[in-house]
């Protein structure tokens, strides 16, 4: 089975993140880049499926040159090879444009399954799985916390507010995963050493036959009108336990509809 895992490099959430003042895009040079956390679960799921069904895991990344670090890490976890789409013309592309560009790159790769994290920690639009499946014309199985493949059939548990739905489709398909699905492995030194010898194919938009008029900030389908820093977190509610602390907490959770 040929599995493609989408990996996005995002700013480390542990460091301070900044936007560039002139075009309201993320200043990617200002903070350390790391693999989007949910994508690590996607990589792990890809590796688990490969271990079970055989085949190859290819990492697909779109992003600037420094995303190479994240690609190396994904290869160190055990992926076989990578495709890196990098072009100045892609700067400022929104979610739909990115889905279009990635679908073009995917057109060059033979795949049975595309796996990705259900959202990124930077933009958090959470639409990539759905948009990409539309562009590719294949089924989408989103928010999966369990994936089973049997021949050409794929079945996932799709996480909902009330539990989960069981969703089935035929391969090829796109699956987005949530963090409950597995526990990502750490790269071993052996794989770290091997990673530097694994092939990474670099693609410009011309290589991937991406239409320049359909990507980039100037052609974006959405516009960031204004940005503001997140307001400081309001003080929490302190429940003092005078014998009925448990009840008060249960009431609070019920009021907020957490339970």
């Amino acid at each position: 089975m040929n599995i493609v895992v989408l990996v996005k490099q995002v700013p480390d959430t542990a460091t301070e993140r900044k936007l560039t003042s002139d075009d309201k895009t993320l200043d990617r040079a200002a903070s350390d880049g790391v693999i989007n956390e949910l994508d690590e679960y996607a990589i792990e799921e890809g590796l688990l499926l490969k271990e079970k069904h055989g085949g190859e895991v290819t990492i697909l990344t779109m992003g600037p040159e420094q995303a190479t670090d994240s690609i190396r890490k994904a290869l160190s976890m055990g992926a076989d090879k990578a495709v890196h789409v990098s072009d100045e013309a892609l700067h400022g592309s929104d979610a739909l444009q990115s889905a279009y560009a990635l679908s073009r790159a995917l057109g060059r790769i033979e795949f049975d399954l595309v796996v990705l994290g259900s959202e990124s920690t930077d933009a958090r639009t959470g639409v990539m799985g759905a948009a990409l499946a539309e562009y590719l014309g294949v089924p989408q199985l989103t928010l999966a916390d369990k994936v089973d493949v049997d021949g050409q059939a794929i079945k996932v548990q799709r996480l909902t507010d009330y539990g989960y739905d069981v969703v089935e489709a035929e391969l090829p398909a796109v699956v987005s995963v949530v963090e409950k699905i597995n526990e990502p492995r750490y790269p071993s030194f052996k794989l770290i050493m091997q990673a530097k010898k694994k092939p990474v194919e670099k693609l410009t938009i011309a290589d991937a036959e991406i239409d320049a008029a359909r990507v980039g900030l100037a052609n974006a389908t959405t516009e960031t009108v204004d940005v503001a820093p997140a307001p400081p977190r309001a003080a929490g509610t302190i429940v003092k336990d005078e014998g009925e602390g448990g009840v008060k907490i249960a009431e609070f959770l019920a009021e907020k509809k957490f339970v």
């Binding site: 160190s76 492995r185 750490y186 790269p187 030194f189 050493m193 530097k196």
Partner: protein, 384 residues
């Protein structure tokens, strides 16, 4: 002169740092207080390949070098020394003698399990009456037919009493040399061999989530083929093991020293006194600057010793210097970090209290600081 780590070493360092932060830090305090061995963490470290770092792939290793092990030890000890010493002893004392001196059969039998972390090995050198003074070895092994018969007691043996301990390599007197000195050999004793039992489990000041046991051998019989290396070469063999081990302990000590800086920086930025963050007071700034200076210089010392060893150059003196300076740094930084934390440093609520308790053994284990000075002086040509 090369600057910085290779990309692969740097990625390993980062990976272990991430593991220590995400998996060790949140749970280790609890293990420590219960004096429980963290089997779950050891299994995870095994899956990451940490126990196989310096061993060849054909025996289940990672194909890395000893320096990779040192980097892993440093990053673990930055968060906790118990898991770091479990790894150090498992690799450098448990598996290394078999890798370096063992027969092909011994390597094939034991190394895959030791490299995966499923099993731990231990090294039985120290006795109630002596550690670095090998002439004080009282444990004996005599040949009876095709078997060694071992009698004696070993003290303070790391990793020897866990549920996953598979073997102990024991230093024993196997005869007398021509000059009348005892002839020492190393013999591999699998766990569960009749006549081999655990003595007391120590109540320790520090390293409380690691295993340290006393071993008792009472007419313990193992096959003659369990000799590790050559008969009578035991002394030279364990000197080699100890010289390397000093670099690893230095790395562990640097980790602790750096962990003290990490914790102090964090606390100095939060805690207020006399109307200002304590980090704005010169008294605290200078303390932390001194701590960083000690950690950094000690790191350079162990990098130097490790690079000499990997280049095949003599490294005995540099290893002793690294161990001496790094254990001093750990002890001094633990004392200063506890001071930065004030009363909280004396509680088990913050890691610095644990660092304080864990630092002292670094001036004792794998050769005391006095032994390191003795080795340095002798290497400078001073009379033995």
């Amino acid at each position: 002169m090369q600057h910085g780590l290779s990309a692969e070493h740097e990625e390993l360092r980062r990976t272990v740092a991430e593991f220590a932060r995400d998996h060790v830090a949140p749970v280790i305090g609890d293990y420590y207080e219960r004096e429980a061995f963290p089997y779950d963490l050891v299994a995870r470290m095994g899956r990451m390949g940490l126990f196989g770092l310096p061993f060849p792939e054909e025996h289940g290793g990672m194909g890395g070098d000893y320096f990779a092990l040192c980097l892993a030890l440093e990053e673990l000890a930055r968060v906790d020394s118990s898991v770091a010493i479990t790894l150090e002893a498992g690799v450098s004392l448990g598996a290394m003698p078999i890798h370096r001196f063992g027969s092909d059969e011994q390597r094939e039998t034991w190394l895959p399990r030791l490299c995966s972390g499923e099993a731990l090995g231990a090294f039985g050198l120290t006795e109630p009456g002596g550690g670095s003074d090998a002439s004080a070895t009282r444990t004996t092994a005599r040949l009876e037919g095709d078997q060694w018969v071992i009698n004696g007691t070993k003290s303070f043996i790391t990793n020897s009493g866990t549920d996953i301990t598979a073997l102990v390599t024991v230093a024993a007197v196997t005869g007398k040399r021509d000059d009348g000195a005892p002839e020492i050999s190393m013999i591999l004793v699998p766990t569960g061999t009749p006549g081999f039992s655990l003595g007391q489990r120590y109540s320790k000041v520090g390293w409380n989530a690691s295993d340290t046991s006393e071993l008792v051998f009472d007419d313990c019989r193992v096959p003659r083929t369990n000799l590790v290396g050559r008969q009578g070469r035991g002394y030279a063999q364990f000197l080699r093991v100890l010289d390397e081990g000093r670099i690893a302990i230095a790395a562990l000590a640097v980790g602790l020293a750096q962990g003290c800086v990490d914790e102090s920086l964090r606390y100095a930025a939060e805690r207020e006194a006399f109307g200002a963050r304590i980090g704005s007071h010169q008294a605290i700034q200078f303390k932390i600057a001194d701590m960083e200076t000690r950690a950094h210089t000690a790191r350079l010392a162990y990098y130097d010793a490790a690079s000499r060893m990997l280049a095949g150059e003599p490294f005995k003196r540099q290893a002793a210097i690294a161990k001496l300076v790094a254990s001093n740094a750990a002890m001094d930084n633990a004392r200063d970090a506890t001071q930065v934390f004030g009363g909280y440093g004396f509680t088990n609520e913050y890691p610095v209290g644990r660092f304080y308790r864990d630092a002292k053994i670094l001036e004792i284990g794998e050769g005391t600081s006095e032994v390191q000075r003795m080795l340095i002086a002798r290497d400078l040509g001073m009379p033995a």
